[in-house]
């Protein structure tokens, strides 16, 4: 790639790419991220829709907040189980609301820690957010 073809104005995310300079040398150039510059709005719109859909599912009792964050953070059941240190079979149960509500605080804290959220956020998922996210306007 020629140097001029790699120039992308995106201060939000800078990257290094190797380009062909005018003297023919292939050297690093700091430039902007193509996808962040051109498609961040689309990412945020899809993320918002996903949050809304998951919130509804949690609010209607179909799934638990553990499922909400597992999907949002792109984890599989096996991966989540390994991260929280709980057997896969048990994690599967914790994805259902009826099992989730009886979980001890210690277990909930383990999930919150992996999801990088406060315990309160985990416990209120699907309760307040449904209204907030539905009122939010897509970025695009």
């Amino acid at each position: 790639m020629k140097e001029k073809d790699g120039i992308i104005d995106c201060p939000q995310q800078q990257v290094i790419i190797y380009v062909e300079k005018e003297d023919g040398k292939f050297e690093p150039m700091q430039t902007g991220s193509y996808i962040t510059k051109n498609f961040l709005d689309d990412y945020e719109l899809k993320r918002l829709h996903l949050e809304q859909s998951l919130n509804k599912q949690v609010a209607s009792g179909i799934v638990s907040p553990v499922y909400y964050y597992m999907v949002l953070e792109d984890l599989t059941i096996s991966e989540l189980a390994a991260r929280v240190g709980i057997r896969k079979g048990k994690v599967k149960k914790h994805l259902e609301k009826e099992h989730f509500i009886s979980l001890p605080e210690e277990t909930l804290l383990r999930y919150a820690d992996v999801f990088n959220i406060k315990l309160e956020e985990l416990l209120t998922t699907g309760k307040q957010k449904t209204d907030q996210t539905e009122n939010q306007q897509p970025v695009s």
């Binding site: 790639m1 939000q12 995310q13 800078q14 990257v15 290094i16 790419i17 190797y18 380009v19 062909e20 040398k25 292939f26 050297e27 690093p28 700091q30 991220s33 193509y34 996808i35 962040t36 051109n38 498609f39 961040l40 689309d42 990412y43 945020e44 899809k46 993320r47 829709h49 996903l50 953070e73 792109d74 984890l75 599989t76 096996s78 991966e79 989540l80 390994a82 991260r83 929280v84 240190g85 820690d113 992996v114 990088n116």
Partner: protein, 336 residues
Amino acid sequence: MMSTIPYKHKMAAHCESGAVTSLLNNAGLDITEPMVFGISSGIFFGYFHKMKSFAFPTFIVRNKPGSIRNNLAKRLGIKFHTEKFRTPDEGMKKLDDLLDKNIPVAVQVDFFYMDYLPEWERVHINVHFIVVVGKTGSKYIISDSYLPKLVELEQSSLRKARFAGGNMSPKGFLFYPEYIPKEIDYRKAIIKGTKKACFNMLRIPIPFVGVKGIRLFAKKIVEWPSFARDTEHLSHEIMKINVLLEDQGTGGAGFRFMYASFLQQGSTYLSKPEWTELSKKMMEIGDGWREISLFAARIGKSRELGQDKLKELGTMIAGRADVEELFFRRLKDSLN
């Protein structure tokens, strides 16, 4: 309370080759990121259609995490101190002790807990490498190759990131250079690294790695809709091809461009004029991967994700397999 160790921070195309290069540069060895990448046989391809740790099919475009450091050390005679820990307390104490001795330390982390990055970039992946260069109060000073400047990271986040569980769990892994030889035979190292890269791309008898992996990716992409929750999920995953190829880990296109730079630099050590031609060819291969990534981003955004578009994408990917097969055969022959 410690302060920052004098450390020359530099952005890089990739986290592991960037962290290794930066540690070596700061320890006095003048070596570029493409040389680190090429000598360590960093160029690779692997396609994973179904794996229990990935929620969706995915691919990798560099060798196994850790291999860059390992292969480079073997081939250049460098010694890195490496260590894993049984408990977070031990791992964090060791890090503090090293910083107290003014030793910058690379650590393996889960990318997700790098709070200094924007939310849209952060994903759970346990193979990000950063260099810790100091501590002030409860915050560590971090040199992350993906950022233009040094940044701060809370102790609690670093601890969590170094001891995240799951696939490729870091277990607090850290490393730093202990010994760098005064005389290095780059010629020999370049040849070894290149031969191994050719082997990895052409001859590993596993159907999902190397050129065969690119072909499998090309064939299987039409099956991606069966893994998706809905059109937006499929669009997200298709657009991740662009992220994987360009931004995160500076994959296919980015790595191919960096490999072109390695071949150009390597040609001066080997006195092989044909490598100048091969480096240009690799640059063109990178351009082809870039076309794929831009196409994937476009159809993802427009939600044109029917079988016809996915087949078109598959054909473009298969085209890369053909040119890379020819390329690596030529590269291999150039060493005979």
